[in-house]
């Protein structure tokens, strides 16, 4: 009976994971097919050709190298900056009796409830006014601005639950506020920061909407709009796009694997009050 249950469980899980992996495998397989094969037999058919030239095309013709560099130039500072600022804000809001701290927190949360689509035109116009339009700075500013509310909210929840005695002990030991923040709070918040870091890295790296809103020069485009650029007006080389997608997925997968442990434990963040 027990064996049967284990067997059923495993075969069920194998099927389920195949369901999850299916699209990924499909993309990888498609990236190794030739254009004529896809055109003649359709994107869904079994592969009848094998080529790795698609990766070369995506890398050189698609300008993916430049795009990946742009993506990293935006993502890494955005993640560092937004998490740094959010940690400071969360520290202040959770450990000190700042007047109106609830309102500030709710305001930050409310900002997250706004659909980004309604802000596209204001953001585009504002970035133009500030002269940042079509620079990576604009994108970094937008990403930091939009991430900040949510990160602060999550970190606030985490920091609030840290025992107050630690802070008191540090105060008695003569630590100032800045020292408590950098030497006590930040280290203790590390799991939350790691999880949020992995999350925000993925979000910012995969963002398309803001990139095409504040950028218009192809040399400035990060990897997601560059992938879109591989599509023609009517007809797209799906094999090259698939290859480009595989390449573009590498950084996020690497970050996820590196922070996997924190990421999974971090999913429960704020779930228990």
């Amino acid at each position: 009976m027990n064996k049967l249950r284990t067997g059923a469980f495993h075969s069920g899980m194998i099927l389920l994971s195949l369901l999850w992996l299916g699209p990924v495998i499909w993309v990888v397989v498609m990236s190794t097919r030739s254009f004529d094969d896809i055109a003649a037999h359709g994107v869904g058919s079994l592969p009848r050709s094998f080529t790795l030239d698609t990766y070369r095309q995506a890398w050189t013709d698609g300008g993916e190298l430049r795009a990946l560099i742009n993506s990293m130039l935006v993502t890494v500072p955005s993640v560092a900056l937004s998490l740094g600022l959010a940690a400071m804000a969360a520290f202040a809001l959770s450990r000190f009796r700042i007047p109106g701290r609830r309102t500030i927190l709710l305001l930050m949360l409310a900002g997250n409830l706004l659909p980004p689509q309604i802000l596209l035109i204001p953001v585009a116009k504002f970035s133009e006014l500030t002269g940042l339009y079509d620079t990576l700075w604009a994108l970094i500013a937008v990403q930091v601005g939009f991430g900040l509310g949510f990160y602060t909210f999550v970190l606030h929840g985490f920091m609030r639950d840290l025992p107050g005695e630690i802070q008191e002990a540090a105060t008695i030991d003569g630590a100032g506020t800045a020292q408590i923040f950098t030497k006590v709070m930040l280290p203790l918040t590390r799991p939350a920061l790691a999880a949020l870091g992995a999350l925000s890295f993925t979000w910012i790296f995969n963002d398309l909407l803001w990139a095409i809103t504040v950028l218009r020069t192809d040399d400035n485009m990060p990897v997601t709009p560059a992938l879109l650029g591989l599509q023609g007006q009517f007809v797209s080389s799906w094999n090259v796009i698939a290859a480009g997608t595989v390449i573009a997925a590498v950084p996020t997968v690497a970050v996820f694997l590196r922070f996997q442990r924190h990421f999974v434990s971090g999913l429960a963040l704020g779930a228990v009050k």
Partner: protein, 431 residues
């Protein structure tokens, strides 16, 4: 107690170091960002920027070559900026209205361009047209806005038709039909052989159905009525429009039932694999065909329904317009003059794989039999229309998509569908 203290000290020191490391890394990375994104601001002084939606690899390469040629001539400098066509479509209004817009844009002729012109966003390029005296009147009219000045320079156009595989038509022993009756007979024959006669691809690309509406309307009611209808001067619930759908219903049983599910690219695959008989589509579909199938492709014009109606064909025209705010109108016009010249147009046709006809009458199109036939068909036409969205607006296109998809699903509800379409169109025209 004495054991406890050093331990905690070490703990704190360790963590402090980690914190410092994180801070250092972030400042280093933002320094990188600044050095890379710094010099990209602004358009530069003299260079004309051309914002292009020709993002497919061949077309992009063709444009790059043209711009390189122009720069080599020393009459000015231009820089090409290729944006994904889908992104371009949504961002074009933002580009045009921004404080420091790109100078030149690839886009469509006709009402789409005129819309922008009526908002004074486009540069008057009548100067360029002075050297385009031998362009046909139809293209000149198409490039002229309501106030009578030219705002558009055409680059090329293409045509729509019923495409099929020669080898398959030979295998099935059928001929190209000329009239609607012959067309329906052909459909019946193919259906008898177990082949869905008419391929279509409406999943993700519902606008393909508009070609049927356009063609039936210009065959039954004529091009002038069609234009007035799309400009909001006629009503979609007019009996004349209903007549279009009555005809369409005759052909509806012959449509490939799978066509609602997949996009036109897959409908192309189905056509090439002999799973459908023929396919009403624009020449751009050939980009989705494997190279070895291209020689086997042929097409016939949309069958004649009423011989009394002057012959009209769909010929979507692509080209360029310039921003009214350009800092360098002289350079922009010089580039436009170059792009409309014989040399540039022939180079573009040669380098891009698409089946396109150059706008300049002196430029030679590719001499493949397909292109010769297509050019002859357009030359024979008394009137040229473009396509539903190009003759109306991108805002009206979704109303057509809804109405036509619904009609294909439930043809007997046509009266209600047309009433809804009219209501939807009125909202768009009131804007």
């Amino acid at each position: 107690m004495s054991d406890f203290d050093p331990g905690r000290r070490r703990f704190l020191g360790h963590l402090g170091l980690a914190g410092l490391g994180a801070l250092g890394a972030s400042s280093f990375l933002s320094a990188c960002a600044s050095s890379a994104s710094g010099p990209t601001t602004g358009n530069g002084s003299g260079a004309v920027t051309i914002q292009s939606n020709l993002s497919s690899p061949q077309a992009k390469a063709a444009m790059e070559k043209l711009i390189a040629n122009f720069n080599a001539q020393g009459k000015g400098t231009a820089s090409l900026n290729t944006i994904a066509s889908e992104t371009f479509r949504t961002q074009l209004p933002t580009y045009l209205t921004s404080a420091n817009p790109p100078d030149l844009y690839t886009w469509y002729a006709g009402s789409v361009a005129n819309d922008y012109a009526s908002k004074s966003l486009l540069l008057d390029v009548s100067d360029v047209w002075k050297s385009l005296g031998d362009y046909p009147q139809s293209l000149r009219t198409l490039s002229t806005d309501a106030s009578g000045k030219q705002i558009f320079v055409p680059m090329n156009n293409y045509w729509w038709g019923f495409f099929y595989r020669k080898s398959n038509f030979a295998k099935w022993g059928v001929q190209e039909p000329k009239t609607w009756t012959e067309f329906l007979a052909l459909c019946e024959t193919l259906k008898g052989k177990g082949v869905p006669p008419i391929g279509i691809g409406l999943g993700d690309t519902p606008w393909v159905a508009s070609a049927w509406f356009d063609y039936l309307n210009i065959r039954i009611n004529g091009a002038p009525f069609h234009r007035e209808l799309l400009a909001g001067k006629q009503r979609f619930d007019d009996p004349k429009v209903k007549a279009v759908f009555t005809r369409w219903r005759e052909a509806l049983p012959y449509f490939d039932p799978k066509g609602k599910a997949y996009p036109f690219q897959e409908a192309t695959t189905a056509l090439l694999a002999g799973k459908t008989g023929m396919f009403l589509i624009g020449t751009f579909f050939a980009d989705a065909a494997p190279k070895d199938a291209l020689g086997d492709l042929d097409f016939f014009r949309f069958p004649i329904i009423d011989p009394a109606v002057p012959l009209a064909e769909e010929a979507p025209t692509d080209g360029f317009f310039a921003s009214a705010k350009t800092a360098n109108p002289t350079g922009t016009k010089a580039l436009l003059t170059y792009l409309s010249g014989v040399e540039a147009q022939e180079a573009y046709v040669k380098a891009s794989s698409g089946i396109v006809l150059p706008a300049n009458p002196k430029a030679k199109a590719s001499d493949s039999p397909l292109v010769v036939k297509g050019k002859a068909m357009l030359d024979e036409a008394k009137e040229l229309t473009q396509f539903f969205n190009r003759d109306s607006s991108d805002a009206l296109q979704p109303t057509a998509d809804t109405a036509l998809t619904k009609f294909i699903d439930k043809p007997d509800q046509i009266d209600a569908i047309l009433r809804e379409w009219q209501a939807g169109a009125e909202k768009v025209f009131k804007g």
